[in-house]
C-alpha cells in the first residue's frame, strides 16, 4: 500500500514538512513557539472582552467568540501550510523543479506539507480550550461534547481548508515571493465574514451573504455545536438549522470546493509550466 505514489507523496511530504517546521530548534522551544502565537491571539480577545464586560466569561457570547477564535487557528495554519510549500520549495530550497520531475502526486504532496502545521495547531487549540475551561470557567465539559459530530466536522473542515490551501498554492505558483503571506492574508480577511468571533447578525446586512457563502462559517458553527450545543444555539444565525442540515451543507460545499480547487490548481500549474515559473526565483 505504501508503494502507491499518491500515498507515498503524502506520507513523505508530511515527514518533510514536520522536519522543516520543527528541526530549527530543540523540542521544548518548538513546543513553546507553537502555542505562544495562538495563545496570544486568544489573549487579545480575552482582554478585549474583559475590559468591556467586567469578566463575564460564563456568558454564551464569550464561549461563542472564544471557541470560534480557537478553531479559526486551523484556517490560517492549514491554508498557509499547503500554499506556503510552493514558496518554500521554489524560492528558499529551490527544489520545486525536482519535486515536479519526481514520480509524485503534487496536490497530495502539498497536502502532506500542510500536516505539520495542522498537528502543531491541534496542540495549540487544545491548550487554548483547556485554558478557557479551567481559568476562565467557560461552560464546557467532556461529558456533554457530541463526539461523533465533533470528529466528522473536524475531518470535513480540515479537508475543506486544505482545498482552499490548494487554490492558494495554485495562485502562488503564478506570483512572486512577496505573496508569501497569501494564506495568512486570506485567513485574516475571512475572519470578518465567517462569524468566527461575533454572530453574523452584527455585520451590516449587505456583508452577511458573503459569510453565508463561505464553508468556514458552517464549519465553525458545527464545531461550536459539537462542544457547547446549547451556547451555539443561543444565537439566531443558524438557530433554525439542524446539525445534520449544517453537516450536509458543509459536505456539499467541500465537494464543490474540491472540484473548483482541482480545476484552479491544474490551470495555474499549466500556466506556470508554460511561463517557466516552476523554477522561478523572484528574490523580491
Amino acid at each position: 500500500m505504501f508503494r502507491s505514489p499518491a500515498l507515498r507523496s503524502f506520507r513523505m511530504a508530511a515527514w518533510l514538512g514536520w522536519q522543516i517546521e520543527s528541526n530549527w530548534t530543540d523540542p521544548f522551544l518548538f513546543a513553546i513557539y507553537s502555542i505562544i502565537k495562538p495563545l496570544a491571539a486568544a489573549g487579545i480577545l480575552v482582554v478585549m472582552y474583559r475590559v468591556v464586560t467586567q469578566q463575564a466569561f460564563d456568558t454564551p457570547m464569550f464561549a461563542y467568540l472564544y471557541l470560534g477564535n480557537a478553531f479559526y487557528q486551523y484556517v490560517s495554519a492549514v491554508t498557509t501550510g499547503v500554499s506556503w510549500a510552493v514558496i518554500d520549495d521554489r524560492e528558499h530550497y529551490r527544489t520545486l523543479k525536482y519535486i515536479y520531475v519526481a514520480p509524485l502526486n503534487i496536490p497530495l504532496y502539498l497536502f502532506g506539507r500542510g500536516i505539520a502545521r495542522f498537528l502543531t495547531t491541534t496542540f495549540a487549540v487544545l491548550i487554548i480550550i483547556a485554558f478557557g475551561v479551567w481559568w476562565l470557567k467557560m461552560p464546557l465539559s467532556l461529558a456533554s461534547i457530541d463526539w461523533p459530530l465533533f470528529l466528522v466536522s473536524l475531518l470535513l473542515g480540515t479537508i475543506m481548508l486544505a482545498l482552499v490551501g490548494l487554490i492558494l498554492a495554485g495562485v502562488t505558483l503564478l506570483t512572486a515571493r512577496h505573496s508569501y503571506y497569501i494564506g495568512d492574508a486570506v485567513a485574516g480577511a475571512l475572519f470578518l465574514f465567517t462569524g468566527a468571533i461575533f454572530p453574523l447578525e452584527v455585520l451590516p446586512a449587505y456583508l452577511r451573504p458573503i459569510g453565508y457563502a463561505l464553508p468556514i462559517t458552517y464549519w465553525l458553527e458545527l464545531m461550536r455545536r459539537a462542544l457547547v450545543g446549547h451556547v451555539a444555539q443561543a444565537f439566531p444565525t443558524f438557530s433554525q438549522v439542524s446539525n445534520s442540515q449544517l453537516l450536509g451543507l458543509l459536505a456539499l460545499m467541500t465537494l464543490a470546493l474540491g472540484l473548483i480547487s482541482w480545476v484552479v490548481f491544474r490551470w495555474c500549474e499549466q500556466r506556470a509550466r508554460e511561463q517557466g515559473l516552476i523554477d522561478y526565483t523572484s528574490n523580491y
Binding site: K37, I44, V52, L65, G188, L192, I197
Partner: protein
C-alpha cells in the same frame, strides 16, 4: 560615445555626503518599489482593514463604548509599522544574507549604519502611506470621532515613537546578523504576542501596571497609549501613564536604541566576520 565622455571622472562622495548618499540610495527602492508594485494596496491596506473591522465588530457585539472602535482603528494602523520593522528591518539582513547581498553590503565602501538608516527611513515613508490609508478608511467606515486638543503634541509623540521603533528595528537587525534559519521563526513569533502586550486593540493599562510597564520596552506600547490619550475624549481616563511621562520615556528609548544599534552593529559585524556567518546559508 566620445573618448572625452568615457574618461570623465565620476565625482565621488565621502564623509557625511557618502553617508547621506547611502541613506538615500537604500531608502529609494523602499519608496519607489511600492509605487511599482500595486499589490500592496490589497495586501497591506485592504486585508489589514478587514482584520481591523473584525475587531471593531467584536467591540460592537459586546456593547463597548464607541471610542474603543477608534482605539482599534489606530492600533490596526500602527500594526503596519510593527510589521514593517519586523519583516523589513529586523530580518532584512538575514534575507540579504540568504540572497547573497549581505557580502556586497559589507564590501561596499560605505557605512552599514547608513544602509540600515536608509532602510528605516524608506520603510517608514512607505508604511506611513499604508497606515494613513488604514486610518482614513477606518475612520470613514466606522465613523470614528477624534477629539484632538493638542495636535503638535500628538505629532511629536508619533515622531518620537517612530524614531524609537525604527531604532529598535536597527538594533535587532544587527542581532539578526548572527541568526540563520531560526530568524524567520523569531520574527514570526513577535507578531501576535506583541499585538497583545502593546495593547494594539485595547488600552494598555488593562494589562495591569507591571505587565504594561514591561511592555513599554516596545515603543509602540507607549506611543499608542499616548496617541489615544491625545486623540480621543475618553483617552486620558484610560491612559497608562501621563502623556509627558510617556514622551520622556519614548525620548530615552529613542536615544538608547539608536546608540545600542550603532554599538551592536559594529560588535556583531565583527563577530559575524570572525565566525564566518556573513555568507553562510544554512537552509
Amino acid at each position: 560615445m566620445s573618448a572625452a565622455t568615457a574618461t570623465t571622472p565620476i565625482p565621488k562622495n565621502s564623509g557625511w555626503r557618502l553617508f547621506l548618499q547611502t541613506v538615500i540610495g537604500r531608502a529609494y527602492p523602499r519608496v519607489i518599489g511600492q509605487q511599482r508594485e500595486k499589490s500592496w494596496l490589497i495586501f497591506e491596506v485592504l486585508l489589514p482593514l478587514i482584520n481591523v473591522a473584525a475587531y471593531v465588530y467584536v467591540y460592537r457585539a459586546i456593547g463597548a463604548p464607541e471610542d474603543y472602535v477608534g482605539f482599534v482603528v489606530i492600533g490596526g494602523a500602527m500594526i503596519a509599522f510593527w510589521m514593517n520593522v519586523l519583516w523589513s528591518m529586523s530580518s532584512q539582513l538575514y534575507w540579504e544574507k540568504e540572497q547573497g547581498n549581505l557580502a556586497l553590503y559589507i564590501i561596499a565602501p560605505t557605512s552599514l549604519m547608513a544602509i540600515l538608516l536608509g532602510m528605516a527611513i524608506g520603510g517608514m515613508i512607505a508604511t506611513l502611506l499604508r497606515a494613513g490609508a488604514i486610518i482614513a478608511l477606518g475612520t470613514l467606515l466606522f465613523n470614528v470621532h477624534y477629539v484632538v486638543i493638542n495636535p503638535w503634541q500628538l505629532l511629536a509623540v508619533f515622531a518620537l515613537t517612530m524614531v524609537a521603533l525604527y531604532g529598535l528595528g536597527m538594533m535587532t537587525a544587527s542581532v539578526f546578523l548572527l541568526f540563520s534559519r531560526e530568524a524567520w521563526h523569531y520574527v514570526n513569533l513577535a507578531m501576535e504576542p506583541v499585538y497583545l502586550l502593546s495593547g494594539f486593540y485595547f488600552p494598555l493599562k488593562n494589562l495591569g501596571f507591571w505587565v504594561a510597564l514591561g511592555a513599554s520596552i516596545i515603543p509602540l506600547s507607549l506611543g499608542l497609549d499616548a496617541m489615544r490619550q491625545l486623540a480621543f475624549r475618553s483617552g486620558p481616563s484610560l491612559g497608562f501613564l501621563s502623556v509627558p511621562l510617556e514622551i520622556a520615556m519614548l525620548s530615552v528609548l529613542s536615544v538608547v536604541f539608536l546608540i545600542a544599534a550603532r554599538w551592536l552593529l559594529a560588535t556583531l559585524e565583527r563577530l559575524a566576520r570572525e565566525e564566518a556567518r556573513l555568507t553562510e546559508n544554512r537552509r
